[in-house]
Amino acid sequence: MEIEQSYIDIYKEFAPTLKANSAEVMNRNRDEAFARFEALGFPTQKMENYRYTDVRSRFAVNYGMNLRQVSCPLSPSDLVKCNVPGISTHLFFVVNDTFLSCPSATLARDMEELMEKGVLWGSLKEHAEKYPELVARYYGKAADVENDGLVAFNAAFAQDGFFLYVPKNVVIEKPVQLINVMHANVDMMANSRNLIILEDGAQAKFLVCAHTMDQVNFLCNRVTEVFVGKGASYEQYKLEQTNYKMNNFGSLFVKQEADSHVIVNESTLHNGFTRNNIRVDLDGEHADTLLCGMAIADKEEHVDNTTFINHNVPNCQSRELYKYVADDSSVGVFAGRVLVKEGAQKTEAYQSCKNICLTKDAHIYSKPQLEIYADDVKCSHGATTGQMDDTALFYMRARGISEKEAKMLLMLAFMDDVIEKISVEALRSKIRLLVEKRFRGELSKCSGCEICKE
């Protein structure tokens, strides 16, 4: 427990500081969450859900923590060029673990219009102070503090993050973009918390980019809770394109009510160490979920996507599609669990994981799992690990395409069905371009992530 002990000591010593720099709603269960972390510790590889990913040692670095929430000397104007070309977004920043507020910046007209309709967005801490009842109704209600040490740790240490509230039947057309920036001159850890609430019939698209500005060790342990009301529609795209010194832990908890639609698409193009936990609870009938993701890893990179879809009620549909290409001595992990509860009849669940291992030192672990307690269901999963199709390769060469180029095209094609599932056209073509650059080796690490840079 030595690794845990240093964090336990920090909490014990600085709990009052932590609380003083956060909101009361977020403090309510802070001590319990801490106690839970004390009992659980960080996950170990002895735990079935973490058998291929060593989380614990990642925390051994002596990271700085910004417990006093001292604001960073960054102005939004330094970062405002971060935008996906071809689409405009409603743009927000979290620097390390603090929401970057920009009182001077004037709000765009369309943002004002949305706020007049009741949309709330910005700092979670501020909103928790201003709307304690609203935030308290949702905060911590989806995240699994009980069983996951990473989540408990986040609940104990997170002080701020991003908040989005979309009232009934309000549609936000433009994607809401959150850029998580890591900026420090010493090794730094960030625990931030996002809370997203879509009331019945609301619609929103959320784009998250991870961004590193310095060449020090970073560790992010972010937890996002999403509540999707009846008939509401939510899409989330996450792009990781940072550097080898980045450790990114992301836990996403989604609760879906009847007739709601959710798409989550997470791409890892460059990141030292990634662990994404996604848990979706289908709590209302006729809801559907699509989870997809891709990972392109090389050198010593490690990418782990662990998903858990809970079919709690009948007539829901879930689909999963994950694709990995592992080069050099990188490691790719996919573990997907689909649980169909007793009585959840007419469930349809499809899961697919396809991998390409490019070298002998690259490792791919896949573990799709179906647990089914109802009989009238259609569930399937498939997982393959292999190489590129030789006949396709020959066919292309027979048309004069060089072997290297043909392989490139095949790898792009391999990833294409994940990219296809991005509904925002401009983002789709941008990601397609980034993937191609990544395969061509033209995309080196982030010094201002590509998608945001132009």
Binding site: T391, F394, A398, R399, G400, E403, A413
Partner: protein, 250 residues
């Protein structure tokens, strides 16, 4: 343009081609016929450089170059085109992207600049009409979900795009109904010139009603056992392959 001398090839140690000799000059159409398993498709695969086959003996000269030393892509760039018996489906790779890459690689080989996107699309449109290829097919993934006829027309379309010096049509007629056959054959005929040549591999003489050969060769047990003019195809049609076997004293 093409000279094959004593070509031997095997797959997994099993010898399929046992000494093929064949010379093709510009402007000629050669038909290679033969019963199933005689090595017809192996010959086309070996000429295109399919790595599943191993050449053990013999030489192939293509416009003064040793064809067997070239990679499959260089053979293509030198102007050798194979219309596959079973065109391969490549999910996720669009026809446009696929063809543009191929055309530009050919141009690069010849020292030409890549084609502009608009020129390329114009060229695609032009050539598509030749084989009456549906516009929609061009936007789909390569051969994915194409019917048998569409796949074969797609092969001829690619042939038109790449303007080869030598085309090998491997059982292009298999799986085609009579209308599709006519479209494919007329596409081939339109592309014919005094500078290029074709090798038509077929089991039936039906296709040869449309694509008229100058020479007909019979391939049997890995060797060309009989060569003659067009009349040989008709004779085969009438008497069947048993006639050849008998003639060989089997």
């Amino acid at each position: 343009m093409l000279e094959i001398k004593n070509l031997h090839a095997n797959i997994n140690g099993k010898e399929i081609l046992k000494g093929i000799n064949l010379t093709v000059r510009p402007g000629e159409v050669h038909a290679i016929m033969g019963p199933n398993g005689s090595g017809k498709s192996t010959l086309s695969s070996v000429l295109a450089g399919n790595p599943t086959f191993t050449v053990t003996e013999g030489e192939v000269n293509f416009y003064g170059k040793n064809l067997l030393e070239l990679s499959p892509e260089d053979r293509s760039r030198e102007g050798l085109f194979l219309s596959f018996q079973y065109p391969v489906e490549i999910p996720g790779v669009s026809m446009v992207n696929f063809m543009r890459t191929a055309v530009n690689e050919h141009r690069k080989y010849k020292g030409l600049d890549p084609m502009s996107a608009s020129d390329f699309l114009k060229l695609m449109r032009e050539k598509k009409e030749l084989v009456e290829l549906d516009n929609k097919l061009a936007n789909r993934s390569v051969n994915e979900g194409f019917s048998g006829g569409e796949k074969k027309r797609n092969e001829i379309f690619q042939m038109a795009m790449l303007e080869p010096r030598l085309s090998i049509l491997d059982e292009t007629d298999s799986g085609l109904d009579i209308d599709a056959l006519r479209i494919v054959a007329s596409g081939v005929n339109k592309l014919k010139s005094k500078d290029n040549a074709s090798i038509v591999i077929t089991h039936y003489q039906r296709l040869l009603d449309y694509i008229v050969p100058d020479f007909v060769h019979v391939l049997y047990k890995g060797k060309i056992v009989k060569s003659a003019g067009r009349e040989l195809a008709l004779e085969l049609e009438e008497k069947g392959y048993d006639w050849i076997k008998k003639e060989l004293g089997e």
